[in-house]
Amino acid sequence: MTQDPSQLKGKSLPPPRETSGAEALKALVTGFATTLKHLGRRPITEQYPEEKRELPARSRARIILTRDPDGAERCVACYLCSAVCPVSCISMQSIEGQGGRRMAAWFRINFGRCIYCGLCEEACPTSAIQLTPDYEHCQRAILKSVYEKEDLLVDHCGKDPDYNFYRHAGVATEGLDKGRHEKEAPPVNVRSNMP
């Protein structure tokens, strides 16, 4: 029964319906019958270490840093993931990398703190940081839960196989000058004789 909540405004809720004895008994019997029926069924429990389930691609577990389709690091160390992280488990330092690309000198995620909320992935403007279904990375030594950039970097594009930030960015990088990005006109010639 769906009702527009706005229509309920100012009105008191209808009084609870009285249940007759027969109905109550029927409900009771149904309940007991149901549980009794369950007794004969095979338990649905999955025996975790022995049986491992394939999780959906979008489930949120271990974080990776992906590469763009050309194989270069996607992360531009813009600090948005570390800003949005509610538990402050991401830290990094940006530097100017090869060919004018902004990149992370180091990038660290402390999985001891991570709550796998996925906000970093949502905030990432370059699709670099992604959560994967790989949930099995518990460590006994707490320091092993601190992942550095080399531990996080993978050599694939993850869930976003096509995106390459620097093809859209509009900043000049090695091999991709101004005006060569997608949807860009060639650089303006200020001295042009054209009006």
Partner: protein
């Protein structure tokens, strides 16, 4: 004379030891059985990691409880706080003293009663202990210096008072039929017909009240995890919490035994030895209780009170009158 006394003493101690051992062992494995059975009712597996079928789970739990830190909350009444779980566990166990587990055993010409104490007021003894048991709950709740525990304790006391009446009244027809308050006599009175057939209403009232007494779902308001944390034992940890736990599961066994004694003919049964029959009946009652736990939701507080005062007690009273009329007529 002295030898007699000594022999009696030894026999008594042996009986005590056996019963105590059986009760504690029963409590431990009742927990296992409950978890397993409940799991299957909910299409789960239940404990299966400690030992085959999780059979070592109770031992693991016991070890865990014993090694856990024993906390006494700041501001708690330490003495009462420590006393409360003992009261709960001890009263539950003492109740079994009057339960006959088998007909008298004749050994070397001596007749040994298979009951620790065949009191002629066994029934009253049980009521007395069951009333004492509520102290453990109320005191534990009060002494914890915690609002959740206090609320749990109060609910426990109120619930116990309400259902004690119905429990007592439901057994009056049994006493009327048996003509005695001794449990041995009551068992003897069911030689031909178990009282469940003669007194189905009493049986129903007794089982419902008994479950309320043992604070089990759907009557677990003193604990009510989702409102009160863990109710009266919120602040307990380690083995003190364990004592409450033991108390509850011993209580279930005792209730099973009492149901068997009052309505199911006690240790009576064909083919199998009497003790086995009693144990089977206890297990049967316990399983029924687990099944109920697996099926019904918790009652609301007002529903609980209404059921006790407006349904069970009047029904028990009417039943007494009916029984009396029937006894007069038959």
């Amino acid at each position: 004379m002295v030898l007699d006394w000594l022999l009696g003493m030894i026999v008594l101690l042996v009986k005590l030891g056996l019963i105590l051992g059986a009760l504690l062992f029963g409590a431990a494995y009742l927990v296992w059985a409950e978890r397993k059975f409940l799991a299957r009712l909910q299409i789960r597996l239940g404990p299966n990691r400690a030992g085959k079928f999780g059979l070592l789970q109770p031992i693991a739990d016991a070890m865990k409880m014993l090694t856990k830190e024993d906390l006494v909350p700041d501001g708690a009444d330490t003495f009462v706080f420590k006393l409360a779980p003992v009261v709960v566990a001890v009263t539950a166990m003492l109740m079994f003293a009057v339960v006959p587990v088998a007909p008298d055993l004749v050994l070397f010409g001596r007749s040994i009663p298979m009951v620790i104490a065949d009191l002629n007021v066994g029934l009253l003894f049980i009521f007395a202990l069951s009333s004492l048991g509520v102290y453990g709950v109320a005191l534990g709740g009060w002494a914890s210096n915690s609002k959740f525990a206090l609320l749990g304790g109060i609910r426990g006391a109120a619930q116990m008072i309400s259902y004690e009446l119905a429990l007592g009244l439901s057994l009056v027809p049994v006493v009327m039929l048996a003509g005695s308050m001794s449990l041995t006599e009551i068992v003897a009175a069911q030689e031909r017909v178990p009282f469940i057939i003669l007194q189905p209403i009493s049986f129903a009232i007794f089982v419902i009240s008994a479950m309320a007494e043992s604070k089990r779902i759907p009557f677990d308001l003193p604990e009510a995890e989702n409102e009160l944390g863990a109710g009266f034992h919120t602040e307990y940890s380690g083995m003190r919490f364990g004592l409450f736990f033991i108390g509850e599961y011993v209580h279930i066994q005792v209730l099973g035994a009492l149901t068997a004694v009052f309505f199911l003919g006690g240790w009576r049964g064909p083919l199998l030895p009497p003790v086995i029959w009693l144990v089977l009946k206890i297990i049967f009652v316990a399983l029924i209780m687990i099944w109920i736990r697996g099926t019904l939701p918790r009652l609301r507080y007002d529903q609980l009170m209404a059921l006790g005062w407006k349904v069970l007690i009047p029904a028990a009273l009417v039943n007494i009158v009916l029984t009396g009329v029937l006894i007069l007529l038959v």
